[in-house]
Amino acid sequence: MSATPTTAIDARPTRRARSFAQRLRGGDEIAYAITFICAASVILVTALLVYQLYANSAASRAKFGWAFLYTSVWDPSAGQFGALPFIYGTLVTSGLALLFGIPLGVGAAIFLAELAPPRISDALTFLIELLAAVPSVIIGLLGVFVMIPILRAAEPAIRAVLGWSPLFSGPFYGVSLFTAGIVLAIMILPFIISISREVILSVPGDQREAALALGATRWETTWDVVVPFARKGIMGSIFLALARSLGETMAVTMVVGNDPKINHSLFAPGYSIAAVIANEFTEATGDLYQGALIELGLVLFALTIVINGAARLLVMGTTKKGAA
């Protein structure tokens, strides 16, 4: 009964009255100490992680300073490292993923929560959550051998519709920012769907009944009443998905093309932070090169922490509101 205040009557002598040896024999203090150390070690590990990333990127931080973040020359042989192409690639692929993933994911969540009979909804949700368990390297494998041929076949059609835009100019080799965006969209779908569904389900039923009673159609009820009510939680699920896609490594590495340049066409190859670390880390020689890659890791870490933090706040906000 150490930390939590309790009103239970404790028949045993008070803590102070029992000798230290007695308390040890009871095992309470030992169990407390051991479990406390394990819980505290989470904080230690996280602190150590930040420290290691910071300390081991010292060479790169000292040489480039903040310019690391906004210069775009990545030339290991010349010892010149700028992270902008990778930051650009990461943001563009994740942005594309959200562009495809949000409408699909929220739409599916609405169907599963509002329309589908509970049994079918549960079965489909089970299936979709299994999609989240598929290892990213396997999604990458299918990206390389299935998605790329499909996109190649679809290229003329896409160009016919969107070819006027500079975003779809230039040759298309299959590997591109666009391909990576689609693959990422598939990977984040299960997160958006399962969390959004949960949030929509927690919207109180009387909200729906009130709207229906006023003569709203099913869709109007859902779109004008239920979804706005669940908005914060849905936003939270999108932020969580974004954090996932920013840090996603293998699938992106396999289809993004790995070209450290800022190409404005989505059909052009690009690079992402996680992908460059995966590709170049083992061959990085020298403190500066390795330091630059570790600093990229630090940037990625900071990005995901900020976005995850925002997501937690949003999700926490709605579940409280939903419960009240």
Partner: protein, 281 residues
């Protein structure tokens, strides 16, 4: 007016249909992934895959026996690192925790859970590979183990909390100390849930590739002991998929099939167990 109503009804039908379509696309993707992998993987799979070492490029046959064993060793290490810390940390949060410190631990756990897997690889690299100056199974196991901690903590805490308070009170009323009641009454009551949580956790890290690229690295031969680089199934899939050889692609499909079957089997069984145990309560 009636036109207005017709329009609203049409919008209703169209939008509801679209949401159904979204669901179909999402669920269809999974079915497609499974189907494609099963067809391609099963075709490329044979007995050699489980018993032979990889052959040099161009030589037919060969398998990934070393990668299967390597993955098993890495998972064993990861369990040894992640499960005790995660489990006991979960016991603290569920049984001993106060408010401020527990909040802090939970928050950090969530942060750690959100750290990209490739960054975990860098972490293990700087801790073990850098001082030792060589890749090793140990480093890969550590990377995966740290990744297991957050989920182990949260799932243990959740299942321990699900144990009714009356069980704790009963044990204490019989004179058991708090520690004794936790370890002989509460934990056994939550045993199934906690074990299932660990299985799901293992299935998740079993497919991780990024943290292994520069910790356990890869190996075309057996890797004796814990101090040498080792092959692992996910890393092999990656290396074989991006290589330009056709027979390597076939092997990658086979490996993908094996890995996905394992991961999905564990997921399905675990989820069924959980839903059954939660329902009657």
């Amino acid at each position: 007016m009636s036109f207005h109503l017709a329009r609203r009804k049409a919008v209703n039908i169209i939008m509801l249909g679209l949401t159904a379509l979204c669901t179909l696309v999402a669920a269809g993707t999974l079915v497609f992934i499974l189907g494609y992998l099963f067809v391609n993987g099963a075709r490329s799979l044979n007995w050699n895959f489980f018993t032979r070492l990889p052959t040099p490029v161009g030589e037919a046959g060969g398998g990934m026996a070393n990668a299967i064993l390597g993955s098993a060793k890495l998972l064993l290490l990861a369990t040894l690192v992640g499960v005790p810390i995660g489990f006991l940390g979960g016991v603290y949060l569920a049984e001993f925790g106060g408010t401020t410190f527990s909040f802090f631990v939970r928050y950090t756990t969530d942060l750690l859970n959100g750290v990209p897997s490739i960054v975990m690889g860098i972490f293990a690299y700087t801790l073990i590979v850098l001082p030792q100056k060589h890749f090793s199974t140990l480093a890969g196991g550590l990377a995966l183990g740290v990744m297991m901690i957050p989920i182990a903590i949260r799932s243990s805490e959740e299942f321990l909390r699900a144990v009714p308070l009356s069980l704790r009170e009963g044990a204490m009323a019989l004179g058991a100390s708090k520690a004794r009641s936790i370890f002989t009454v509460v934990i056994p009551a939550a045993k199934h849930g906690i074990l299932t949580g660990i299985m799901l956790n293992l299935a998740r890290v079993a497919g991780e590739t990024a943290p292994l690229l520069f910790t356990s690295f890869g190996n075309r031969y057996w890797s004796p002991g814990w101090e040498q680089p080792t092959a692992a199934l996910p890393v092999m899939i990656y290396t074989y998929a991006v290589a330009p050889y056709d027979d390597w692609h076939q092997q990658a499909w086979a490996a993908g099939f094996v890995l996905l079957s394992l991961v999905l089997a564990v997921n399905i069984v675990a989820r069924l167990i959980l839903s059954k145990r939660v329902a009657p309560r």
